[in-house]
């Protein structure tokens, strides 16, 4: 069966510094995966490489059978490969509603935008209450909501979430987990980066442990690690702090 996304031997980095050293992974159709691993080992860089914010220096990325390596970001978005970035990366001087409306920018996202907007507001009522607030004045968690909301507005065929629960309250984290689960069930495969392995396991089918810019281990739901094991995963296999 042909994978939906196939990342093969990808190398990438910033300037002279290489971060990904030949990383490979794949997602089957209707499958979701999770990524975890120590900080600074290249998870975000991988997602950026897939969405073409970072150009790979070697390797290939295939999405739905087409080679998308080195395509421009708009083309990737148009293909439905959507990346909700990590952290507070928003348009500071835009209002919430403006931001969400704009997020349905690509051609494929412009159909059904209104419906998705309603969905986003239903998922995050907070955003609906604050439609005219400037993004830069939002609280940490509110920003996170807006960021995910934007990704949803893009009509993803494959959704990449980079630490989506960062700074969310336990309740919201749970709700978001449920919502992401719904999205995934509705047929949108996910790539989720998270440090909370339990959370990842509840959402995805397989996990990859990323260290030093390569995949060092693959874990499936059946072999879910316990606490001890998790600690070993971080410390044991070469990851030192």
């Amino acid at each position: 069966m042909m994978p939906l996304l196939d990342v093969r031997d990808v190398q990438a980095g910033y300037g002279d510094m290489r971060v990904l050293h030949g990383l490979s992974l794949h997602i089957g159709p209707q499958e979701s995966i999770g990524l975890f691993g120590p900080n600074g080992h290249g998870k975000t860089t991988l997602l950026k490489t897939i969405s073409s914010l970072v150009r790979p220096t070697a390797g290939s990325i295939t999405f739905d059978g087409t080679d998308i390596t080195g395509r421009k970001p708009p083309a990737i978005v148009e293909a439905g490969l959507i990346h909700a970035p990590q952290g507070n990366t928003l348009f500071g001087n835009m209002r919430i509603a403006e931001t969400l409306e704009l997020a349905a920018f690509s051609k494929r996202a412009s159909t059904g935008a209104q419906r998705r907007l309603d969905d986003v507001y239903a998922l995050f009522p907070r955003l609906a209450e604050r439609k005219t607030q400037l993004a830069k004045t939002l609280s940490g968690g509110e920003r996170q909501m807006l960021s995910i909301g934007c990704a949803l507005m893009c009509a993803p065929r494959l959704l990449m979430l980079d630490e989506p629960t960062l700074g969310l309250s336990p309740r919201l984290k749970e709700e978001l987990g449920a919502a992401i689960g719904e999205i995934s069930k509705s047929g949108v495969p996910l790539i989720v980066v998270e440090q909370d392995i339990e959370f990842l396991l509840s959402l995805t089918d397989r996990l990859y442990l990323v260290e030093h810019g390569v995949v060092v281990r693959e874990i499936d739901r059946a072999s879910a690690p316990d606490h001890e094991e998790v600690m070993r995963l971080y410390f044991g296999e070469g990851g030192t702090h």
Binding site: F36, G37, P38, N39, G40, G87, N88, R126, Q133, T137, L138, S139, G140, G141, E142, Q144, M145, E163, L166, G167, L168, S169, P170, R171, L172, K173, E174, E175, Q195, D196, I197, V230, M231, Y234, F235, H241
Partner: protein, 244 residues
């Protein structure tokens, strides 16, 4: 009264109609670790802002620190008086190394000379477990955890009375959270009162001696952490259906 080191009296912060913090009052006992929780946007970071004056003070209300009213002081003076805070969004001085960062924090906040600052740097870096080999690297090249360590260390340079941490565990891996846990306990044991905003419950509940939950800018509940998390209102507003 004597052991209340910081007191917030009826403090409010309004943004064009939005009451981000609305009539909050509480006291902090010298030497405790006080946890602060609450839904997103409930005003936790704003509360820190108005206490420390960075970047703004309260719209109304009083802040007392060690018996003095500080709510009209310029922010840098509040910092020098012994209130050290960290930021939710990672902050660093990207061009400065850890040593340089600590040097200026020691100079301006702690009125330390170069030698004294160096000695104190060694102490605080040891305390937060910052690797010696990383001391000469510009901060922008540090890892997330190292930046957090440095931000805490820089706050400790001046031997502050109170350390205020805004979601220090966010974005950290499990092992890192566990070291953070140990680190904060050690800092507290060295005599520093700690205020901790955190959504990572494992950390929050493991070290807080008291917990305040904010909701929509007001105090929803406060008291013993174990009791507070059983409070119905707190569960609905903040914890959700998760079993404790």
């Amino acid at each position: 009264m004597n052991d209340t080191i910081l007191e917030v009296v009826d403090a409010s912060k309004h943004f064009a109609g939005l009451k981000a913090v609305n009539g909050v009052s509480f006291g902090v006992t010298r030497g405790e670790i006080l946890g602060i929780a609450g839904p997103n946007g409930s005003g936790k970071s704003t509360l820190f802002n108005l206490i420390t004056g960075v970047p703004f003070g309260p719209t109304s209300g009083e802040i007392r620190f060690q018996g003095q009213r500080i709510d009209r002081w310029p922010a840098h003076r509040i910092a020098r008086a012994g209130l050290a805070r960290t930021f939710q969004k990672d902050a660093e001085f990207p061009d400065l190394t850890a040593d340089e960062t600590l040097l200026i924090c020691g100079t301006y906040n702690g009125q330390l000379g170069r030698v004294a600052a160096r000695t104190r740097s060694d102490e605080v870096l040891g305390l937060v477990g910052f690797a010696d080999t990383r001391r000469g690297i510009p901060s922008r090249n540090l890892s997330v955890y190292e930046k957090k360590q440095l931000m805490i260390a820089s706050g400790l340079m001046s031997r502050p009375a109170v350390l205020m941490l805004d979601e220090p565990a966010s974005g950290l891996t499990k092992p890192e959270i566990e070291s953070l846990d140990r680190l904060l306990v050690a800092v507290n044991a060295s005599g520093v009162t700690v205020l901790l905003i955190e959504h990572v419950l494992s950390l929050l509940l493991s070290i807080s001696q008291r917990l305040i939950v904010l909701n929509q800018g007001s105090v929803l509940a406060q008291g013993n952490p174990a009791e507070v998390v059983r409070n119905e209102a707190v569960i609905t507003a903040y914890l959700g259906g998760r079993k404790q």
